[in-house]
Symmetry: C2
Subunit: 430 residues, 2 copies
């Protein structure tokens, strides 16, 4: 399970300290569904309530794709791809050994990038998983039309067997199309917003196709959710939420998440959407950023140590590495590194992490540590659950609705107008 | 050449506006070498002054590696890898068609990542380019020992032919080793700091091995440097530096660079080091962040539109895409997208960019636009030159030394102490 250590932030607390009572209250507001946006709290029960037959259908669809295709093209934007991408990058199932390559498209408008993916899949068998609540969001809709056209070129009338739609249960263009064309489909629940949807079919199908054991992910999430629900006074989600809110009120306006694993980068992108979109509204919100250690100690490290004192640091650490390696001894000590000979590389990394932590605390940067036992499926599920719950609690503590995103519509309205989109009576919705 | 459009920021100017006279003064301080850190301004002449024989040696070394090896392992941290990595990701020479894979290691301490790269190169012919001024920085030194040991295992006495060292001309452990072991070597000039070194052998060799035309990169940089040196009143580097300093003084404390090209991500990491490390000191400095559009409009977009008004946005746009693709027409208009049928995808992207820009300006986020004619070698060289010059000018305008990094030493000192490094009379230096 996920653990949170706030000892590196305590020197920066006021006498009152983080308001755990308020965190507990926000947690109750969430689970009692009495707060703003309560109609979007279905994610709290996603892993426990997934139906046996839905899980079977996901696993069967994944198995079918794995056995016949070299690639899966996942089409979706925002919450419709970040969780799955984060998971695939973090756990890195190696493509080629029975694991199809996973491509994520429809999350941007770069023509060079789309052409590159078209080139990659043109000569291989591939499937498409299109993920959109409405089917009208521009980026995935355009990409879907383009890849559908390639599927038809490739498979003719059988193209429809290579398309899986993850969409609204009954409404929207994509649901209508899926019914008419008889595509296999999965449901995005009405009570789950995009950025909280990774543990539904939205995230689970691409993960399963990639070769990730999704039952273990769900197991990790269930265990984490139930442990956080026991509401002990040292609840890690309260600690994380209350500490960051406490620091924010003292002018710590930027939180950077840090990890020593390069494979964590897209989990951090998922985290940035989760927190940035849940909390950044009405003129307030902690700015979420990411740094990769120790690489970025030679980049952002200078700013962290010596720039404006508006930062707080949250380091995600995995208690143990998956593999081992030790520093070899070298006769004659030509590079003077024999003082490290025989050291396990992971021990060097953990020692460096302690050194960095001390340097940053001395440099007046409050430090939080989130530890996860292992970089595996259970750890991934636990991280998803932990961050989702902490985020909702933290947003409620700051007085905003964690589940809306009023600011996202502005560019869409402008864009559809400038592209000459014909008026339609029902508005677009992710 | 690079162009800068500040019209989207003008509504946020005070009556005085950006201080171009101050920018011009900072530029003079830089070129006259009269400012703090003037001994590190050799990067201004790197592309013009590279010696014909050094360029030949780089191209020959690259050709040798390209003809015999499937992979190059580049070992370096901070400025010793970010520029080359940004270049390789941006231009994406496709590995396998005569282009070796490029791996970047020694920029972190993740044992799983090192093991992954060891697995990738174990069964292929590969070379190592180790890049370090001193040879004593922990991360690259440890990685170098590990990969050197694999080379010895693989090639025995010929291992030395697979190692190229880029290091100090005369001092340091790595230079000594290179001489003793008779490795091919290149020089990191004394008057160029790590984050300004991409146009020396540090960046040029890995780029050339990857399949990038480094003469064209240098040509783009030379043209850009000389155009920026003509000091017209509309100098783009002055515009960029003066505008961001002007906005910073009005509380715009976070600058996010944005791009519509997913391949730009590591160029942004290079930019973050350049600006973060040059400006973030003495308690001041703009916080540099990166967003990828349009993906992150469905992630950080909410915060940008509706969070605290402390942001400024700088969008890097390439005037034309490398490839083309248009939206196919579809009979019956099942997904209602026929209003876009026949549109060139790049026109959709450019239209979306305008819509986003308008939405952000209306949402009270000042917008700067940096345009580059093409995502190719010349454009890359121009971007390197433009950002380096703008950064030094901007840092001088804010009153700091653009070329030191006093804060980076803190974690190193802690780390070496905790790892039990024996005392050495000369200190470590990147």
């Amino acid at each position: 399970m996920v653990d949170v250590d706030i000892s590196g932030a305590e020197a920066f607390f006021t006498k009152a300290g983080p308001d755990y009572a308020d965190a507990a209250q926000a947690h109750r507001t969430l689970t009692d569904a009495t707060g703003e946006g309560a109609e979007y709290t279905g994610w709290l029960q996603l892993p426990q309530k997934i139906k046996e037959n839905e899980l079977h259908q996901i696993l069967n669809a994944a198995q079918k794709i794995r056995s016949r295709s070299g690639a899966l093209v996942v089409i979706g934007i925002g919450g419709s791809y970040l969780g799955a991408k984060g998971a695939v990058e973090l756990l890195q199932p190696v493509p080629g050994k029975g694991n199809p390559k996973i491509f994520f498209v429809g999350n941007g408008l770069s023509v060079d990038y789309i052409n590159q993916v078209l080139d990659e899949v043109r000569d291989t068998d591939f499937d498409v998983n299109v993920i959109s609540k409405s089917g009208t969001t521009l980026e995935p809709a355009v990409a879907f039309r383009i890849f559908r056209s390639l599927l038809k070129e490739k498979y003719g009338a059988n193209a429809r067997k290579h398309i899986i739609a993850t969409t609204d249960a009954s409404r929207g263009v994509l649901r209508t199309l899926a019914s008419e064309e008889n595509w296999e489909s999965f449901v995005i629940p009405d009570d789950v917003g995009g950025r909280y949807s990774v543990l539904s079919a939205v995230g689970l199908l691409p993960m399963a196709v990639a070769g990730i054991d999704i039952k273990a992910v769900l197991g990790g999430a269930i265990e984490e959710f139930s442990s956080l629900d026991s509401r002990s006074p040292s609840n890690p989600a309260w600690k994380y939420a209350a500490t960051r809110q406490h620091l924010y009120r003292q002018g710590r306006t930027i939180e950077f998440l840090a990890s020593y694993e390069p494979s964590f980068r897209y989990m951090a992108e998922w985290w940035k959407q989760l927190f940035g979109e849940s909390e950044g509204k009405g003129g307030i919100g902690i700015f979420p950023a990411y740094v990769e250690y120790s690489a970025d100690l030679h980049s952002m490290g200078q700013y962290i140590q010596d720039g404006p004192r508006v930062l707080m640091e949250t380091v995600v650490e995995f208690a143990a590495s998956q593999t081992r390696l030790s520093v070899p001894f070298e006769m004659g000590n030509p590079d003077r590194l024999n003082y490290l000979a025989g050291w396990d590389m992971d021990d060097i990394c953990k020692t460096a992490a302690k050194a960095v932590r001390n340097a940053h605390i001395s440099g007046n940067v409050p430090n939080l540590r989130i530890t996860v036992p292992q970089r595996n499926e259970e750890g991934l599920g636990a991280l998803f659950a932990f961050f989702e719950l902490s985020c909702a609690i933290s947003a409620y503590m700051s007085g905003v609705n964690p589940f809306n995103q009023p600011g996202v519509e502005a560019y869409k309205r402008n864009m559809f107008r400038m592209l000459g989109k014909p008026f339609e009576p029902t508005g677009s919705r992710r």
